[in-house]
Amino acid sequence: MAKDNILEIENLYVEYDTDDGVVKAVNGVSLSLERGETLGLVGETGAGKTTIARSILRILPVPPAKVTQGTIRFEGQDLGKISEAEMRKLRGHKIAMIFQDPMSALNPVYTVGSQIAEGIELHQKVSKAEAAKRAGEMLEMVGIPRERYTDYPNQFSGGMKQRAVIAIALACNPDLLLADEPTTALDVTIQAQVLELMEQLRDKLGTSLIMITHDFGIVARICDRVAVVYAGQVMEYGSKKDIFKDCRHPYTMGLFNSLPKLDKNEKRLKTIPGLMPNPMDLPKGCPFAPRCQNATEECMKGRIEPKEVTPGHFVSCLYIPERGMSV
C-alpha cells in the first residue's frame, strides 16, 4: 500500500437477523481513507451508511447484527481480530463517533461535563480533576461556556447538545472521526454553525473524518473523497471532483438531477422513479437496476464489480458512459 491509509475496509458484509427475515444492510463494501482526508458517505436513508460506521467501531447491536464477511483495518490492524478489551482502548480514543440524534445521544441523568470527562478519564489515565479541567476546555473549544459543565442535557438546546456530542467525540483527540449525519436533526441555521465548527476542529486537530450524510451541500463543502452508497453497496467512489464534475453512475446522476436548481424555475423536483429495494429481498444483480433507465437483462444477473474509469474513480455499472455528468 503506497499511500498512508488510516482505514481500509475490504468486502464488508453486514446482516441483521430479524423476526421477519434477514436484512442485508451492507453488501460487499470496500473503502479506504487516507490519513488527514475526509471521506463522504452519501446515500438515502437506509442505504447502510450508519451500519458501516458502527461496524468500524464494533458497536453494532449483536445480535441481531452480524458481520458475515470482510475485514476492517485501522492503522494496519485488523479490527475483526483484536479482543474486546483492545477494541475498547481504541473506541473514543483513536476512533470516535458523532451520532445523528443529539437529543437522545446524551445520557439525561448525568451532567454534560461529566459525560465529556468520562472518556478522558478512561483513556488518558488522568485524575478526575484533570479530566474535568480538560472537559471544560473541550466545552469551550466547541463554543459552550465552561460554566455549563454542571448542566444536564435537558438544559441544553439542540445545537448545544450536538456541540456537546462533538466535544465527547473529540475529547481524546481521535485519529479517526466518524460523523453520522451530525447536522440532520438540527435547524438549518444551526446546521451551518455545527458544520463550520467541525471543519475548523478537523483542520486544527488534523483528524481523519468519515462524514455520513445525504446532503450534497455538505459533501461539496468538506469532503475530499466521496462514496455513493445504495442498498449497502458502493455505486460510485472517487474524489470530490470525480463525483461532482465527472459522475458516471446512473444512480449518482439521478441524485444530482433530483436536486432543486436555483437558476432554473422548476415547478416540480425531479425524482428517481421507484423505491429502494427491500433489504430483505435484494435483486441478484445491480440493486439499482429495477429503477435504472439503462438497465438490461445483463444487469440482473450477478454482482457488478467496480471498474476504475479514471485513476481513483470507481464505478459499479455495466454501462459506464464515456463522458460523465457535471453539476
Partner: protein, 320 residues
C-alpha cells in the same frame, strides 16, 4: 428540590382529605342500623336513640364528616368502636407499628432482591438463566399472597418444624410472614426491572457510552441503571403501596396482631368505625410511600428537579 418537596407535601392534603371522604361516604351508606349492631336486637328504641345521639349519628352527613375530620386530623382521634366501645386510636397505635414493620421489611426485600434479579435477567436476556428467573417470577406473581403464606406455613412450620407459623413473639416469627408478603413483590420488581432495563439498553446514549470505550459493566451499571431506576422506582413504589393491602391479609394467615387482623375482625362484626379508621390509616401509609417514591424519582431524574428547582438554572436556559 425543597420547593418540590413542599409542593408534593401540599398536594398530599387534598388527596388525604379525598380518601377520607370517599371511605367515610362508602361506609356511611352501609345498609343496616349501627345501633342495632352495637346494642343487639333486644335493645330498646330509647337506648338506641340515646346511643345514636351520643355518637352524633343523627347529625346531617356533612356535619358528621366535618366532625370526623376534625377529630382525626386535629386530635388523632378515630372515635370508639361499636363493639366494646374501645378507643380505635389506641388500638391503631399499638397495631400500626407491627403492620408497618412487616410491610416495610417486605418492600425493602423487594427492592434489594428483585431489582438485581431484574438487572441480571436483562443483561443476560434470552439466556437460560434469564428464562429460569423469569419463569420463577411468573409463578410467584401469579399466586395469591395469603395462599403462599398458607403453603409456607405447611412446609416450614408443620412439616419441617423450622419456623413458627403464628403469633409474633420474636424475630423468627417475622420470617414466614415477611417472605410471603415479599415473594410476589420481589417477582414483580424483577419483572419490572428487567423490562425497564431492556428499554434503556436499546437507547442511543448507551451506544454513545460504548463508543467512548466504556466497559460493558460500567455502561450497564452507571449509564443504564440510573436511567432505568426512574421507571423502576415509580413502578416499585406503586406496587409497594399496593402491597400494604396484601400484607393485611397475610397477617390473618399468621395470626399477627396488626392492622389487618383488627380490620378483618371489624368487618366480620360490622364495626364500621374501625374499618373506616383502618382503611384511612393504611391509605395514609400508602400515600406516604407514594410520596417517598416521587421524591426518590426527583432525586434520580434531573429533569424533574429542573422543573421545580430554583430559578437560577432556568434563566440560563433562556439565554442559550
Amino acid at each position: 428540590m425543597i420547593r418540590y418537596i413542599v409542593k408534593r407535601l401540599l398536594m398530599l392534603i387534598p388527596v388525604v382529605l379525598g380518601v377520607t371522604f370517599l371511605v367515610f361516604t362508602l361506609l356511611h351508606f352501609t345498609p343496616g342500623d349501627p345501633a342495632v349492631n352495637a346494642l343487639g336486637a333486644t335493645s330498646t328504641e330509647e337506648a338506641r336513640q340515646a346511643w345514636r345521639e351520643e355518637r352524633g349519628l343523627n347529625d346531617p352527613f356533612f356535619v358528621q364528616f366535618a366532625n370526623y375530620c376534625k377529630e382525626v386530623f386535629l386530635h388523632g382521634n378515630f372515635g370508639r368502636s361499636y363493639s366494646g366501645n374501645r378507643s380505635i386510636s389506641d388500638e391503631i397505635k399499638s397495631r400500626l407499628p407491627i403492620s408497618a414493620r412487616l410491610a416495610l421489611l417486605a418492600i425493602l426485600i423487594d427492592f434489594l432482591v428483585g431489582t438485581p434479579i431484574g438487572i441480571i435477567s436483562a443483561v443476560k436476556r434470552y439466556s437460560a438463566l434469564d428464562n429460569i428467573l423469569m419463569l420463577l417470577a411468573l409463578f410467584m406473581v401469579s399466586m395469591p399472597g395469603f395462599w403462599i403464606g398458607l403453603e409456607l406455613s405447611i412446609i416450614f412450620a408443620l412439616k419441617l418444624r423450622l419456623l413458627p407459623a403464628s403469633g409474633l413473639y420474636g424475630p423468627q416469627y417475622y420470617i414466614l410472614p415477611v417472605i410471603s408478603i415479599a415473594l410476589g413483590g420481589v417477582s414483580a420488581a424483577a419483572r419490572m426491572t428487567r423490562s425497564c432495563m431492556l428499554d434503556v439498553i436499546g437507547s442511543d446514549y448507551m451506544v454513545t457510552a460504548r463508543a467512548k470505550g466504556v466497559s460493558e459493566k460500567i455502561i450497564i451499571l452507571k449509564h443504564g441503571l440510573k436511567n432505568a431506576l426512574i421507571p423502576i422506582i415509580t413502578q416499585i413504589g406503586g406496587a409497594a403501596a399496593g402491597m400494604i393491602g396484601g400484607a393485611m391479609i397475610t397477617e390473618i394467615v399468621f395470626s399477627i396482631p396488626g392492622m389487618g387482623t383488627y380490620m378483618t375482625n371489624a368487618i366480620q362484626s360490622r364495626d364500621y368505625p374501625v374499618v373506616l379508621g383502618c382503611v384511612v390509616v393504611l391509605s395514609f401509609l400508602a400515600c406516604i410511600i407514594l410520596l417517598i417514591t416521587d421524591l426518590a424519582y426527583a432525586f434520580v431524574d434531573p429533569r424533574i428537579r429542573a422543573q421545580f428547582g430554583g430559578g437560577k438554572k432556568k434563566s440560563k436556559k433562556e439565554d442559550a
